[in-house]
Structure formats: C-alpha cells, structure tokens
C-alpha cells in the first residue's frame, strides 16, 4: 500500500517537474510569440500585414468579378472562352512569360555590387510590392538569381556589367519610399559597396518576357 502511495506521489512530482521545465525552456526561446515583440516591431508587422491583406482583398474582389463574368456568359448561353483567354494572359504575365508595361521605378546602378547585393535589391523591390522586374533585358522570374559567373555577375546566364539598370513595375511612390527609407537597402548598400544607385520614378516602364523555359522538368502537377 505504502509502495503504491510512493509511486503515485513520484509520478505526480515528475509530471510537475516536466511541466515547469517545459515552461522554463519556452521562456528562453526567441520572441517569436507575437506578444513578446517590441512595440516598434509590432507596428511594422501591422503595417506589413495590413498591406498584404489589402492585396489579398483586392485579389478576392478580382476573382469574384471573374466568376461574375463566367456566370453571365453561362446565363446568356455565350462562350466564356474569352474570359479564359484573358486569364491565360494574366497568368503568363504573372510568371514572366509575357512582357508587361506600367508605372514604376528605374534604378541606375554603377559600381562594385556583388551577387548578394543584387539579390538583396531584387528582394527589396518584391517586398515593396513590385509586380514585374527586369535587370537590363533579363526578366526576373521566381527562379532568377544573380550569381558569380566567369568573373562577372550573371542572371539566367546573361552577363551583368558593372553599370546596369533595374526596372520595376509597381506603385512608384511605394517602391521609392521603401528603397530610400533610412536604414533601407540603398543606405545599407552605400555603407558596404562602392557604387552609386540612382532611383527615379517613371510613368511607363517596359519589362520584357523571360527567355527561360519555365516549365518544370522534374516537378509534376498533382491533380
């Protein structure tokens, strides 16, 4: 009987120790819990999430519009092929298979940027909401990265000279503000690399289609 009490007591004690240790270990982890982020980080996160949600709302609204067009065509007994063709053009533009045009930003770079700096610039433009980007005549797709080739920088096999231009289509104010903010990518790069980066807004920026075959060879679609 006494031995049974001992077993039960020890089990209870072990459980308590386990729970406390888990709590203690968790409290030492990084502040990934939202409640432990600083007020400044939380404010930035709120701004970022609000912008992302606005994009998503806009996307939902566009999809609903597209569905209305399909329903209308169906109700009127018309072919909805044109709506589908429009969707094809849209998806091809999104992936980079079609050239696009629109307002945006032009960055003229002259200097010793390494591949990491170029990739960071491209990522910053995407963060800022760029919809399509080209470095000189190379359209940037999901898979395009800047790498060190035979002594020079290359993107998708095309050589990038010391002086090059990055063009991005997107909200010109949003793009410019994001790049030029204090502590932003341009001010960071100026500290570490010997280069000039001039950013100008443009009413009409042309982005070519990619020359790459984007069809995967190994990855297969799952229906």
């Amino acid at each position: 009987m006494r031995s049974r009490i001992a077993q039960v007591s020890m089990s209870g004690v072990a459980l308590l120790i386990g729970l406390l240790l888990v709590g203690q270990l968790r409290s030492q982890a990084r502040p990934t819990e939202i409640s432990s982020l600083s007020a400044q980080d939380l404010s930035t996160l709120i701004e970022t999430l609000s912008n992302r949600n606005r994009e998503l709302r806009s996307g939902v609204s566009d999809v609903q519009e597209q569905l209305r067009e399909y329903r209308l065509a169906q109700a009127q007994g018309q072919s909805a092929l044109e709506v589908s063709r429009e969707d094809l053009r849209r998806i091809a533009a999104f992936s980079g298979q079609t050239a696009v045009i629109g307002q945006g930003l032009i960055l003229r770079v002259n200097g010793d940027l390494d591949s990491i700096a170029v990739n960071d610039l491209l990522n910053e433009l995407r963060n800022a909401g760029a919809e399509a980007i080209a470095v000189d005549q190379v359209r940037i797709t999901a898979r395009s990265v800047c790498a060190l080739g035979a002594g020079t920088l290359e993107i998708d096999g095309t050589q990038i000279e010391r002086q090059f231009t990055i063009r991005a289509v997107g909200d010109p104010d949003g793009l410019l503000t994001a790049l030029q903010r204090p502590g932003g990518i341009i001010s960071q790069l100026k500290l570490f690399v010997n280069a000039t980066i001039d950013a100008t807004q443009a009413q009409s920026v042309e982005i070519p289609a990619t020359q790459q075959d984007l069809q995967p060879k190994v990855a297969k679609a799952v229906q």
Partner: protein, 262 residues
C-alpha cells in the same frame, strides 16, 4: 491470544499511532523531498521569468499584439476565400461551352501556364533543408541576433537552391513565385503574406544531385548563412527526399500596375 486481547483494549487513535514506524525515513520520502526542492527552484525561476515577460509586454504592446492576431485571422479568411474563388474559376474554365478542340487546347495552355507560375500543387524528388536558432548560450556582451535565424539566412538558402536547379521551393509550406518576398521584421520573418516561426523547413523539388550541387554551390559556400552556422551554431540539417509534394502558391496573382503587352 493475549496480544490480540491487548490490542482490543487500545483506543482507535492509539492503534493508528502505534502502527507507524517512528523516526524512520523511507527512501521514497527522501526522493520526494528532493523532487519538491527541484520543483520549488523551477517554479521560482518560472515565476520570475513570467513576471519579467509581463513587465516587458506593456499594455500598448498588448493592444498592438491583439491587432496582429486580428490581421492574421483576417488573412486566413481572405486566403480561404481566394482559394475557393480560384477553384470555382477552374471549374468554369473546364466546363466552358465552345468547340471541344479549342476548349481542350485552352485548358492545356492554362494548366501549363499555372504550372510554370507556381499556381499548381507539384510533386517530385528533391531536398529538405531545416534551419533553426542556435542552442548555444549567448555569451555576455554578444548580440543575441547572431544566434537566431535571420531573413538573410533564408535568402541565401533559397538563392543557392535556385542557382542549383531547383524547380519549386516552399518555406514552411509557402510556395515561392515571381512576386514572393522573404521579409524580416525585427527577429520575425514573413514569407509571402505569412508570419513564420522557426524551425524553418525549406523544401525544393529538382533534378538528381540537387543536394550535392547546393552544398557545392558558391552561392551557398560563400554565403552569410554558412558563416553564421559555423560561427554561432545555427541548427542546420539537409536531407534528400525521394518524393516531395509542394502546395500551390496561395495569394494574389492579379496585377494592379503591370499591364500585359498584347
């Protein structure tokens, strides 16, 4: 017999007391005493750190944190609505009236365009790369940010994977597409629209030898992440996978500013 007669004369209280061994420390009692000591210590440490967290989380931060949680919930709803809408669009497309040949051709083109754009769930062989915060204690005076996974680490891994021939990549299930960004907010990381926490699991589908090419790629070898794994002990593991299944991108694919040229 006499013994039994004596017991029968004792009161119940006396019987109970006399049944207990006096001044005898059982082994289990000692163990429980020690364990209670450990609990006391752990509880004190836990309570102390809880108090510190409560002090750190001011009422203003709590309000902001609640807003973030609300925005994340709104985002989940929007993404669900978007996914549902896209499914309905595809149903309409496959059922559209018109010449069967034209329809079949158009649907084939749409399927190919979606696959190329990352809007289709895919499967194939590939690699899994996991990276997490260092378990080393942060030395006094050192920057704690050195010991956690930062946005640049994920940039470097993804760049090296694309440079090694990857055809599709996800980070914690977020599929990377032409407009994807990996964005740092303090020590937090957003991929596409999602707020992610470590461990970060990068999955990539690609041709045979993808892992070997990745590990030998200059974009990986000379990257910031390689240096930080060595210097600060970030947890890092790679694994080949015979078959991975990566979800489609879930987000807005409609341009606001860019117009396709006809």
């Amino acid at each position: 017999m006499s013994q039994s007669g004596d017991r029968s004369r004792q009161s119940p209280t006396v019987r109970l007391l006399s049944a207990r061994p006096r001044f005898r420390f059982a082994g289990w009692a000692l163990s429980i005493g020690l364990a209670l000591g450990v609990i006391g210590f752990a509880a004190a440490a836990q309570w102390k750190s809880s108090v510190a967290r409560q002090e750190y989380t001011s009422s203003a931060q709590q309000v902001l944190a609640a807003q973030v949680v609300g925005l994340e919930q709104e985002q989940k709803t929007l993404r669900d609505e978007l996914a549902d809408g896209e499914r309905q669009v595809q149903t309409f497309q496959s059922a559209s009236a018109g010449s069967q040949t034209t329809l079949a051709e158009l649907n084939q083109q749409l399927a190919a365009a979606r696959l190329a754009a990352g809007l289709t769930k895919v499967t194939g062989p590939g690699v899994i790369i996991e990276i997490a915060d260092s378990k080393r204690p942060v030395p006094a005076g050192d920057n704690p940010a050195n010991y956690i996974v930062l946005v640049d680490d994920l940039h470097d891994i993804v760049t090296a994977l694309w440079a090694s021939g990857a055809e599709a990549i996800t980070i914690n299930g977020e599929r990377l597409v032409s407009t994807s960004s990996i964005y740092g907010v303090g020590s937090s990381i957003l991929v596409n629209t999602a707020f992610l926490s470590p461990t970060f699991r990068v999955e990539a589908i690609g041709p045979d030898g993808l892992l070997d090419r990745f590990l030998a790629n200059p974009a990986y070898l000379s990257s910031r992440v390689t240096h930080r794994i060595d210097a600060f002990g970030l947890e890092f593991a790679t694994q080949q996978a015979g078959s991975l299944t990566l979800p489609a991108f879930l987000g807005n694919t409609r341009f606001r500013w860019a117009v396709p040229e006809s």
